[in-house]
């Protein structure tokens, strides 16, 4: 059975984020990526596979090399969702602000112009 992958899972891991970061500017081949990390080649291959499954990178064969290219559209979606979650906390501050106004009116009468 194939595990279901999603973009959240992809970016929750620091090594995978570092890989995305590395190839965001320009595609790199898998060996070059593996050299930059202090983990086994197999581990990097697995990360690359997960990122591919999630659609965050595509592999392109160029001659004998396999190049990883970033597909970052989905990350924008995550950023939007984080922004929505942030909004949830902002609304707590809105509520606090409104409550403070109400309390000030009750205690000190009408606000000064």
């Amino acid at each position: 059975m194939k595990a279901r992958r999603d973009v959240y899972q992809a970016i929750a891991d620091p090594t995978r984020r570092a890989i995305i970061h590395m190839i965001a500017a320009q595609p790199q081949n898998v060996n070059a990526i593996a050299e930059k990390f202090d983990v086994t080649r197999q581990a990097i291959s697995l990360h690359v596979k997960i990122l591919t499954d999630c659609g965050l990178i595509v592999i392109k064969q160029r001659g004998r090399d396999r190049f990883c290219e970033a597909q970052l559209d989905q990350l924008g979606e995550v950023a939007n969702w984080v922004a929505q979650y942030r909004q949830h906390w902002e609304s707590k501050l809105d509520a606090m602000e409104n409550y403070l106004e109400k309390l000030k009116k009750e205690r000190y009468g009408k606000p000064k112009k």
């Binding site: 959240y8 929750a12 891991d13 620091p14 970061h21 929505q84 902002e90 509520a95 409550y99 403070l100």
Partner: protein, 156 residues
């Protein structure tokens, strides 16, 4: 690779807000249960605070009552309290968050900085994902309500 300047960047939220109230009042509204019950929690929620022991090591137990009749248990422990300066608490029910709220007087106003640090990026992403699903659901309910409202109008 990128330096370690902020290795928490992927699991934190930072909010700042300048509140139009003196620091004493802001502090009071934050630290007294009868006040915080009036603004904590999302729109449409009410709160019951059973314990709020504002000192280092003190417990803070709050139940949010959702508009759907569901209760959400929130248990936290205060880690650090500096009068009119700082509140640190750890949310020990899910999701685990270490929250630091800094207060700074600016004349008659107060700047608060609310920093929330999740246990891990995995957990942060899981919460964002769950929140998004919930928002989607809420929007569906709102759409349904608007739709029913429309039907109702038509039948008048």
């Amino acid at each position: 690779m990128e330096s370690q300047k902020s290795n928490t960047q992927d699991r934190e939220l930072i909010l700042t807000r300048k509140l139009n109230a003196p620091i004493e009042l802001v502090w009071e509204v934050w630290t007294e249960p009868e006040h915080i019950a009036n603004w904590w929690g999302p729109n449409g929620f009410t709160n019951t605070i059973s314990t709020m022991d504002v000192r280092a090591g003190g417990a803070w137990n709050l139940v949010m009552h959702g508009p759907d009749g569901k209760d959400y248990d929130n248990r936290s422990i205060f880690k650090e309290i500096i009068l009119h300066k700082k509140i640190v608490y750890e949310h020990i029910s899910y999701p685990r968050i270490l929250a630091t709220i800094d207060f700074e007087a600016q004349g008659d106003q107060t700047l608060i900085t609310w920093h929330m640090l999740f246990d891990s990026a995995e957990e942060f992403m899981a919460v964002v994902k769950a929140h998004n699903a919930k928002e989607g659901q809420k929007q569906n309910v709102e759409k349904l309500a608007a739709y029913l409202e429309g039907l109702h109008e038509q039948h008048r």
